[in-house]
């Protein structure tokens, strides 16, 4: 995977939109000791769709995302990826199967450079005889190109800690997109960012979705944070699905009441 990054990227063109559900979750549950964090979660995600997971603190949004990205193992239930029953044994395993995730707190190595962060876990190499060495020039070049494509110009030689909050989030997101995932999970991407940066990120994601068949799952505490963006929304409360709407029929007030447990 590591060495054919470019070819990989060009492989998946805009004409590859698929019809069937890319992800199917049935009866998923997760217990931490006696605490039931998720119970009987079922939903489907179609290719190229954006699903919002909305719920208050403790609703189970992050737990669900961690299971889907291999960070946690479910206590029960099934996950089907492109119709096949799948278990994500580790984050590395999930990545290999085409899942990318960004967390609320960007998973960056602060004291490493931007380009190193951009390519961590899937570094590019060139062979010299029997040995493989890092292709540093190519990585810098491609990282700078990707960041420029998303309308930013920060220097890839800077360390990640020198970036602003918005730049850090953008770096984490563009890194995930560059891996060209089948499903892109985003844990509260809007948290703590200005309206301008949030719009920028959503624009970027829309463009990505148009250019490939990537499906996106995005979590938020409030529906308003993601209502302009998602195709459908699932409302979680105390580890259970309490509502499932498509964007046209979803109503902010109703979602709010469901998420807070107020009778609609």
């Amino acid at each position: 995977m590591r060495c054919n990054f470019c070819e990989d990227y060009q492989d998946r063109g805009p004409n590859m939109k698929k019809a069937g559900p890319i992800l199917q979750v049935t009866g998923l549950s997760k217990n931490f000791g006696t605490l039931r964090a998720l119970s009987n979660i079922s939903f489907e995600l179609a290719g190229g769709k954006i699903l919002g997971l909305v719920g208050d603190n403790g609703a189970g949004r992050s737990t669900l995302l961690r299971i889907l990205s291999g960070g946690l193992q479910p206590s029960g239930g099934q996950i089907y990826l492109e119709g096949k029953a799948t278990r994500f044994k580790s984050p590395a395993d999930a990545m290999k199967k085409g899942i990318a995730i960004t967390y609320q707190f960007s998973q960056l190595v602060d004291i490493a450079k931007v380009w190193e962060n951009f390519f961590m876990g899937r570094e590019l190499t060139k062979r010299i005889g029997p040995l493989a060495f890092l292709d540093v020039q190519k990585m810098k070049h491609l990282a700078a190109g990707a960041i420029a494509k998303y309308g930013h110009t920060f220097d890839v030689e800077r360390e990640a800690r020198e970036l602003s909050g918005g730049q850090r989030r953008l770096l984490a997101i563009s890194r995930a997109i560059q891996a060209n995932p089948k499903i892109f999970l985003m844990d509260e991407p809007t948290h703590g960012l200005s309206k301008r940066v949030i719009n920028e990120i959503f624009d970027l994601l829309r463009k990505t979705k148009e250019a490939s068949d990537t499906s996106i799952i995005i979590t938020a505490q409030w529906y308003e944070q993601v209502c302009d963006f998602v195709d459908e929304v699932i409302v979680l409360r105390r580890g259970e699905v309490v509502g499932h709407f498509d964007a046209e029929s979803a109503d902010g007030g109703q979602v709010f009441k469901l998420a807070m447990g107020l009778t609609p």
Binding site: R2, Q107, L108, G121, R122, E123, A132, F133, V136
Partner: protein
């Protein structure tokens, strides 16, 4: 104006990158004024040769420091591994195979340390301390406390052969250290050592096998400890339970002087070599400078302390 400031910053950063070498050369020249023998070529070669032991140990230590760990077993490996090689030679193994075995024993100890530290989550300080104690004890049993001399000639060639005026050991050291620098800088695994040391959680989220990287760091440390032990035995002509013990503190001090962060993720191996030579220089100067035998350890420790202090202040001031 802004770009001028940026340029100035870049130049300053570059000249500071190899600060440890400037420090070493500066101190060498300065102490040479008081200990003129330092300017005799033979003394200079002597510094070069003697520094290889602490140099190899420090490079090994640097690898585990990059991932934010520590390896106290390095000096025990440096006597245990060549001891194993020599014992195997005595029961009939040819010398090249015995040398290879020495290195494999070092790597094996590192693997064992790494497995216990990552899989059982034993702190590296505790695990490698126990390993140090055990291996030193085993060597003591095997030698009954005596130095093991009478090593085969071909074993000792590394320490005895000269190319022109320069001992083979110096070339060997340069090659091995270059390999280590290239490994750390230019390979995927090498860069990942830095990333894991910087933020291991982020690394595992991005699919980097963090445990494997940590284990590789300990295996590298074991390999370099074994190399140090082999080179030292080839130079001295014997192996004993305690013959590298005095180099543990220098092997920890050298990477620190070279600016390696003890929490991991930062540092330049080329500077570690300068740090090692700086410590070696201090040791030699203290002996040559007529300090009484009883005060060696104190004066050496004091000077290393000052070097670390200077470096810390420098980093505070320059922010690098």
């Amino acid at each position: 104006m802004k770009s001028a400031r940026y340029l100035f910053g870049a130049v300053r950063a570059k000249s500071m990158e190899y600060y440890t070498w400037l420090l070493f050369i500066g101190i060498y020249l300065a102490t040479g004024l008081f200990v003129p023998t330092l300017f005799i070529p033979a003394t200079f070669l002597n510094v070069l040769v003697q520094g290889t032991t602490v140099g190899l140990l420090s490079i090994g230590m640097a690898f585990v420091m990059l991932v934010g760990e520590i390896d106290l077993s390095v000096v025990a490996v440096a006597s245990f591994a060549p001891m194993a090689g020599i014992l195997a030679w005595e029961i009939g193994l040819p010398v090249p195979a015995a040398i290879l075995l020495t290195l494999l024993v070092g790597v094996g100890v590192g693997l064992f340390n790494g497995l216990l530290i990552t899989k059982l989550r034993i702190p590296s300080l505790v695990q490698t301390c126990a390993m140090w104690w055990m291996l030193a004890g085993i060597v003591l049993v095997a030698t009954r406390g005596m130095a093991k001399a009478g090593l085969p000639n071909s074993w000792m060639q590394l320490g005895r052969v000269f190319i022109g005026p320069i001992p083979l050991l110096v070339f060997f050291f340069i090659i091995v250290v270059s390999a280590a620098v290239i490994f750390a800088r230019r390979t995927v695994t090498g860069r990942r050592l830095y990333l894991v040391g910087g933020n291991s959680e982020a690394c595992s989220a991005m699919g980097i096998p963090v445990d494997r990287i940590r284990i590789i760091a300990f295996m590298t440390s074991g390999l370099f400890s074994a190399l140090a032990g082999y080179a030292l035995s080839a130079r001295m002509g014997f192996v004993s339970a305690r013959f590298a013990v005095e180099w543990l503190m220098p092997a920890i001090a050298a990477p620190v002087i070279a600016g390696l962060s003890l929490t991991g993720g930062r540092g330049n191996l080329i500077n570690v070599v300068a740090g090692a030579y700086l410590v070696q220089l201090i040791v030699i100067v203290v002996r040559a400078g007529g300090v009484s035998g009883y005060s060696y350890e104190f004066v050496q420790g004091l000077l290393v302390f000052i070097a670390i202090l200077v470096d810390t202040v420098r980093r505070r001031v320059t922010g690098l």
